[in-house]
């Protein structure tokens, strides 16, 4: 039980997929314009991670070593299709906002990375909690980045204006703003890591 808790919590800070493992930056850069998009993307990716990690761990003894990556992709793609169709059905606005980045979760390096680095060597329960923790860490990172970008870029958080008379810094709503915010946050987390070490 203690092991499972550890597998769950490590993804949130100690091995945060975005800031420490530096995986999955492509969707992070692209969808972090607003907090709503960030949360939607995070939930979709978490669902895929959970499902694919658990299933990959379950069938890990049956998959021949040489074709393991195609097998993982098939499993991952199944869950991505489920997530995409659900999103289209229940939240078409979010689906339009995220666009191509939902189907692209198939090649998200966090998902494939966890399947290859963790789920194929560990039990189903541990893989499940690992996927949950990683997904949560990814979601939190997305919320942090998109929160900063939405506030600076449009003066709002989740569509609510915070400070009266604040003149939005448009550049943070653009791709260059995503690179700036992620770069500075990576530097900040490295600073914290080095302080601790």
């Amino acid at each position: 039980m203690k092991n499972l808790v550890k597998e769950f919590t490590k993804g949130i800070i100690k091995e945060n997929p975005t800031f420490i493992l530096v995986l999955g930056l492509c969707p992070t850069l692209a969808v972090s314009v607003s907090v709503a998009n960030g949360i939607g993307m995070g939930i979709a990716a978490t669902f895929v991670l959970l499902g694919s990690s658990a299933i990959v761990a379950l069938v890990r003894d049956f998959i021949p070593d040489k074709i393991r990556i195609p097998c993982y992709i098939v499993i991952i793609a199944t869950f991505v299709t489920i997530a995409e169709l659900c999103m289209k059905a229940y939240s078409p606005v979010l689906d339009r906002a995220l666009g191509i980045y939902v189907p692209l979760i198939v090649v998200n390096c966090i998902v494939l990375g966890r399947a290859e680095a963790f789920a194929c060597k560990n039990s189903m329960a541990r893989s499940f909690f690992d996927g949950l923790g990683m997904g949560l860490g990814f979601t939190l990172a997305l919320i942090l980045i998109s929160g900063i970008r939405e506030f600076l870029g449009s003066g709002q958080i989740l569509g609510h204006a915070l400070i009266k008379g604040f003149e939005p810094i448009f550049v943070f709503g653009m791709p260059s703003g995503a690179l700036l915010v992620i770069g500075l946050l990576l530097g900040f987390f490295n600073l914290l890591k080095n302080r601790k070490a």
Binding site: E167, P168, I169, F170, V171, F172, M174, S176, L180, G187
Partner: protein
């Protein structure tokens, strides 16, 4: 007898020139253009410049304190960044704009790379482009020269870009700065006085400015009008930020090539990009983007234009 034979490593020729000395001279050479800006646009121009300088110096100092590094305020580079940033702003902007721009220039444009000597882009231009992308409304509202109030006018280049016919503006007006534009870019005469000081002192060489301006002129002469070889090249030299950029920003020591050959490539590249942006790009003026793009190319230029080491093949 005292031994007068001193054995030491290079450099053997010692001069009084030092980084602070050069930086403060450059800052002084910008004073004529600042005076011209204040004469043309009123005291607003002075406040904008002071705000940018103070913010740049304070952020340089704060970064030194925060990171416990050597405090490099006195080398004058932060002052130059502040002045050059203000020179790239219209005089009518609210005063927080130069402050935000200067803080961004120093932190993101310079200090995160490791400070003076490490920055890959010209810090003042980084600040300008940041402001341009963030608050285009303020950055493209230019006060009318000699009106000293809220009357605005477009820059000659912007009028040209919109396809309107330019009301008659003489080359002398452009040369003396009687046009809408940023604080430091309008008065060509004042800029040339400052540039002459730097050239005579040997702090900058002719390679980048001359090739830069010449390339822009040739390119706009060929392609600037409906038919080939009818472009108004003199207008293109005298308008926009070309002179300011060519003499004061494309000659930044840190972010430009080291050798003469490299500097000529750099100047030609800047000239081509400026002309292309002006004639076919989305913005009316492209000097700042051209210089930044060539800054990014500088490491490659340096790699392929290394001087032959004496004695080697």
């Amino acid at each position: 007898m005292k031994n007068n034979l001193i054995v030491s490593g290079s450099p053997h020729i010692r001069k009084e020139g030092s980084v602070p000395r050069i930086m403060w001279t450059v800052a002084a050479s910008l004073i004529p253009a600042e005076i011209a800006g204040v004469v043309i646009f009123g005291l607003d121009a002075l406040w904008v410049t002071l705000a940018a300088i103070i913010a740049a110096v304070l952020s340089e100092w704060a970064f030194g304190i925060f990171t416990k590094r050597k405090i490099t305020v006195l080398d004058g580079s932060a002052v130059i960044t502040g002045i050059l940033l203000a020179f790239n702003l219209p005089s009518g902007v609210p005063l927080w704009l130069p402050v935000v721009g200067a803080v961004f220039s120093i932190f993101i444009g310079k200090q995160v790379f490791g400070g003076l000597g490490q920055n890959i882009f010209n810090p003042a231009l980084v600040g300008r482009v940041f402001l341009m992308a963030s608050w285009p409304k303020y950055m493209t509202t230019f006060p009318r020269p000699f009106s000293y109030d809220a009357v605005t006018s477009a820059t000659p280049l912007a009028i040209l870009k919109e396809g309107k016919i330019l009301e008659h503006i003489s080359y002398l007006d452009l040369f003396l700065g009687k046009r809408g534009g940023c604080i430091g870019e309008v008065c060509i005469l004042a800029l040339l006085i400052g540039a002459a000081v730097l050239l005579i002192r040997g702090y900058i060489t002719w390679h980048i400015p001359v090739t830069y301006i010449f390339t822009t002129a040739v390119f706009t002469y060929i392609f600037g009008a409906g038919q080939f070889f009818h472009g108004d090249w003199l207008f293109h030299i005298l308008s926009g930020g070309l002179i300011l950029g060519a003499f004061f920003m494309a000659t930044d020591y840190v972010a430009t090539p080291l050798t003469a050959k490299g500097q000529i490539i750099f100047g030609v590249g800047c000239g081509l990009l400026t002309a292309v942006i002006r004639l076919w790009g989305g913005y009316p003026e492209g000097a700042s983007y051209a210089i930044l793009m060539m800054n990014a190319a500088t490491p490659f230029i340096d790699r392929y234009t290394k001087n032959r080491i004496y004695g080697s093949k």
